[in-house]
Structures are given as structure tokens and as C-alpha cells.
Symmetry: C2
Subunit: 176 residues, 2 copies
Amino acid sequence: MQTKTPPENALKRKYPEQTVLVVTRGNDGRANVMAVGWVMIASSEPWMFALGIDDAAYTYELIRQKREFVVAFPSESMAKETLFAGTHHGHSLDKFAATGLQTQTGVLVKAPLLADAVANFECRLVCIVQPGDCPIVFGEVIAAHENRSPRVLCLYNWGSNYTLLGARKPRTGRLS
Amino acid sequence: MQTKTPPENALKRKYPEQTVLVVTRGNDGRANVMAVGWVMIASSEPWMFALGIDDAAYTYELIRQKREFVVAFPSESMAKETLFAGTHHGHSLDKFAATGLQTQTGVLVKAPLLADAVANFECRLVCIVQPGDCPIVFGEVIAAHENRSPRVLCLYNWGSNYTLLGARKPRTGRLS
């Protein structure tokens, strides 16, 4: 049974929400990282991601400048670093130095991979559209990398006060 | 440690993935429902959703025709119906009759709400863009509805053979 409510109330029921880290590198060589919850796959041939990136973010400036970035799926062990990346601005702060996030060199994009992530996708900017109040950035995957350990699992935003945790199948679920 | 791999392999690590049902109604009065995994929020003022909708889908035809639709977050009890909606075409099949999905009348959009969902969002079409091989549909939320029971939780696609189940916080997670 459905009850009418403001959208922001109904949206509180949509969690857990996938969270990614978007990694960029500026002309000064400094890498930056931002947490993004508005993310989805947008094409399969070629593979593309869509990302909602605040136009005030340093990440947005660097994506427009360099036209490339990395989408990393943080692992459960990266909760603290993901929260830091999502709640601090990168214009004048080195979030890699502040968090100690470990990096690895990609193959096609100058922004680094996140060594402890579940997976990393090197992306080239395709286009940016803005139907509402947030730019939507489309990136084509030009190289991909995964953590080969099946025990390394994705981190999710559980909604309440930025609770960042993994997700497990319920014990008594109804299998489709 | 990251190992280079084809994107489709790395993407197998991104689950669980949020799944929604998109509900439409045609000129003949018949409602249709489709499962969509490429979904995200795309604006907060006003609230908007972005959805990847296959251009061969009956849902895509009806969205372009009627310029309105409902985004429903299926509950854990709707796994079987969600799988059916996601694996059958609606052009000549009444998926509501086939699944027995219960509906409820919305306030602004002619497509019905799903009574047993976690939440429903009545949407008006804003625009469609196509950066890759799939049309990306943006819809503005013009009314929202929620299931008031906090025990009714969202359904996720766990990836392997369309396993549709809820998600639980891990018992031994590291709180951010």
C-alpha cells in the first residue's frame, strides 16, 4: 500500500546505494578523488558510465580539462577514505596524502587506479548533459582492472548519516 | 592490487545492483512494466531519475508517446514478478495479468503505481540522450509515494543468473 509523501522522504527508502570514487589528475600532476552516488552504466557497446558530478567540484573542473578519469568501485575496507573523499573539497587539499589511499598506474589514463578497490575503469569523456541541477558526465570505458580476490566486495551507502558498509544476501531470501 | 581485464569481467564485481520497475500505460489503456538496472538519481531540484531504456522495448515506445511513467522500487517479495518483467517483452503480452502485480492509482500520471513496492515516483519525461548504444531517459519526479512499513526493503540484482534478493548490512562491517 502506497502513501503519498515528498520525494525526499520516499528516496530515503532506496538504500543501499552503489558508491564509486572518481579519480582525476590535474596539470600540476596532483591526483584528486571524489565520492559519487549518482552512477550507472549507460552503454554496453562500448561500455560507458553516467555520473552526476557537482559543477562546483574540483573533479568536474579536472574532467572538463583533461577529458579523462577513473571510476573505482571502493571495497569494504575503504569506508573511512570514501567518506573523507565525499565530504572534503579537492581544490586545495591533497586527499591522497590525507587518506593514504594506495594507487597504481593505469594503462591509458593519467589519473591513477585505486589499488585496494574492487575494480577500476579508465574512462574517456564522451559528453556532459544537464537536464536538472547537476551535470551528468558520460565516460567511455577504455581499460578495466579488477581485484582478483573474490573476498574483496563493494562498499555501499546505507543512507543514514553516510553509513558506508558492504552488503550481504539475506539469509532467508526468496530466490527468483 | 589491480589486474587488467576486459570491462565485462570487471563489471561482474559491481553487484548488488539497484533494480527498478518502470511502469507505463498506452493509448489502449493497458499498463506495461519493465525491469531496469541502469538507473540513478540525476537532479535534486527538481528530483530527476536517469534510466537506460532499450530502444526496442515497448516501455521506450510508451514513454516517448505519453511522456510520463512511474519508477517503482520493487520490494523483496516482488523478485519473481521483477524477473518476469525483465525477461519478457510487453508489445503483445499483458505482464500485469501474467504476474498478478497489484496496482494503485497515482495522482498525476496515468500509469499505475505498484502497490507492494517500497516506493513509487510519478515522472514526467524531461529529455532523452544517447551517448552510447542505449537511450538514456531523464524523468522529473512530480509525485512520490512510499510503503510506510519499514520492514519492506528494496530488491537488488546480485548478478549471477539474475539472482534477485534484498541486501543486509554485514555483521562485522567497519563503520565509517
